[in-house]
Structures are given as C-alpha cells and as structure tokens.
C-alpha cells in the first residue's frame, strides 16, 4: 500500500512540481483549446497565444520564485 502510494506520488510528481504553474499551464491550454474549438481564434493567432501563454506562465512563476523567500 505504502509502495503503491509512493509510486502514485512519484508519477504525479513527474508532471506536477509547483501546483500553481501546472494549473496555469492547464488553464492556458484549455482556454486556447476551447477558443479554437469554438472558432473564435485559429491558425497563427492560436499558436501565438498557446506559446506566449505557456512561456508567460513559466517566466512569471520563475521570477516570482526568485523574489520570494520560500520558493518551494
């Protein structure tokens, strides 16, 4: 049981280290995915939004961690 829990935690940890970054990334891709699905955006604009959103999420997270006392 303990091993199964540790394995599951290890697997989750493979994708999620900082919960805020993971949630922001998921929010970005869900928003872009929904907008593309609805036809509100398409082509290059969707690509730019996807790329800018994910890179922006990463950079904001890293700079916040750099300025915080306890980055986690």
């Amino acid at each position: 049981m303990n091993f199964a829990l540790r394995t599951m935690r290890g697997l989750l940890g493979l994708f999620v280290d900082d919960g805020t970054l993971a949630l922001t990334l998921i929010a970005v891709i869900v928003v872009v995915g929904v907008l593309v699905h609805l036809g509100a955006i398409k082509g290059v604009l969707a690509m730019v939004l996807l790329l800018a959103g994910t890179i922006g999420a990463l950079l904001i997270n890293v700079t916040r961690a750099a300025s915080s006392k306890n980055p986690g």
């Binding site: 091993f3 699905h37 790329l51 990463l58 950079l59 890293v62 700079t63 300025s67």
Partner: protein, 261 residues
C-alpha cells in the same frame, strides 16, 4: 528531412531524459549493493525490470487502440507539464533559488539509511538474501523505470516513433549501467541541471507541438516547427534566467541591507 528531424530529436530527448532517471536509479542500486551486497541488489533490479517489461507490453498494446487526436491532446499536455516542470527547476537552480541535485550526497544518505535503524543504531546485516536490499533496489528501479516508460511513450506514441524513442532510452540506460559498473560510484559529475534544462526545452516543445496538432492547428513547416519551438523556448528561458538572477541579486542586497541596519 522532416522524418530525420523528428526521429533525431525524439532519440535525443529520450536519451537525455532517460539518462537523468537512470543516474538516479543507479545511485540507489549502488548504495544498496555496496552496503548490503550485490546479489540482493541485482535481484531487486531484475525483478523491477520484469515488471517494467510487463508494463510496456500492456500499455504498448493499449495505446494502439486510442484515437490519434485524443493521444495528441493527452500526450501533448503531459509532455508540456513534464517539460515545464524540469525547465522551471533547472532555471531556479541556475538562479540559485534551489540547490543543485547532488548524487554524491543522495548516495551517502542512502548508505546511512541502509546501515542505521530509526534510532541511528547500526543495523545487523543478514548473510543470505536481504529483503530490505531487494525491496529498496526494486522500488528505485521501478519508480525511475516507470518514468522512463512514460517519457518513451509520450515521445514516441503519437507519430509512430516508439522505436527511436525506445532506442534513445535504451542507449541511455546501457551507458549509465556501464559507467556504474566501471566506476563503482554514483555519477555525480553528470551535469544534471544542464541536462534537465535541455530536456525541459525539448519536452515542452514536443508538448506544445502535439497539443497544437491535437486541437487542429497546422504548424508551419510541419515537424520542423518543433525546432522553432525549441529555439523560442530556449531564448525565453535564457532571458527568464537573466531577469530572475537580477531580481534575486536585488532581493539578496535588500535582505543584507536590512540585516546590517
């Protein structure tokens, strides 16, 4: 040309990512074998390999049944989360916000844990097969091995690149095992942070590419777009490190002035 770009970047990504995981597993197996004997450590490792082969056989078949668009969406999302996680960690380590990964220190901690009980007293070591050694090696190889499998599947499943991805991972594992057998010590000189930085960029680029394809975006230059995404991510990460270093330095200066005052 496009096939070559895809295959070579898949092999490189699988090789680099798997080598990081293999180094981590090797550290634990080496510690177990030095403290409690090679036989039990190897038995635990072999048992873990059998379980991993069974997992590959089961999930490899199951993947063939999943529709390609769904596979692209799921794999793209997982690769993006995985890649960004490693990229964030590598960036924060470069900035000095978190400590560098130290295999030598992990090795020492593992040896101490295997030699001492909860009270810190020295454990009596069994003479025959050692269940603790078998379990410790098994757990380490299974955990890191599952991560390697996920990396290979994520990189190779979507466009039928499972063979190049598997070759990259296999080469990494063989190289790390050979280095461990020759050196008999943890591979603390592997530039893990640089590897994580590169792998983070590669995985994130693949993740964005697959997710985009999954929602119906047609990337310019087809698979060649992955290279463009890698370049953009590398430039943005480099810029992010510079900005974060400046913020960190200002933060440290302010803290120092506060202490002096």
């Amino acid at each position: 040309m496009i096939g070559w770009i895809h295959a070579s970047s898949t092999i490189a990504s699988a090789f680099l990512a798997s080598s990081v995981e293999a180094v981590e597993a090797l550290t634990v197996v080496l510690a177990v074998s030095v403290v409690r004997g090679w036989r039990s450590a190897l038995l635990g490792t072999a048992a873990a390999f059998c379980l991993l082969i069974a997992l590959v056989a089961i999930f490899g078949r199951a993947l063939g049944q999943v529709p390609i668009a769904l596979l692209q969406l799921v794999v793209g999302t997982l690769l993006l989360l995985f890649g960004m996680r490693w990229l964030r960690k590598a960036m924060l380590r470069s900035v000095g916000v978190i400590h560098l990964h130290d295999e030598a220190a992990i090795y020492e901690r593992q040896i101490h844990a295997l030699l001492s009980d909860d009270t810190g007293a020295r454990k009596a070591l069994p003479t025959g097969w050692d269940p603790i050694a078998i379990a410790t090696a098994f757990k380490a190889v299974t955990l890191e091995g599952v991560e390697v499998i996920i990396i290979v599947i994520a990189l190779g499943a979507v466009q039928g690149s499972l063979v190049p991805a598997s070759l990259g991972a296999l080469a990494a594992c063989l190289l790390v095992i050979a280095a461990g057998v020759i050196l008999h010590q943890p591979l603390s000189r592997v530039p893990e942070n640089s590897l994580k930085f590169i792998v983070g960029i590669l995985m994130s680029a693949f993740g964005l590419f697959w997710f985009g394809q999954g929602i119906g975006l047609a990337w310019p230059y087809h698979d060649g777009a992955v290279l463009g995404l890698m370049a953009i991510l590398a430039a943005a990460s480099w810029m992010g490190i510079r900005i974060a270093k400046r913020i960190r330095a200002r933060h440290n200066d302010a803290a120092l002035r506060g202490e002096i005052a």
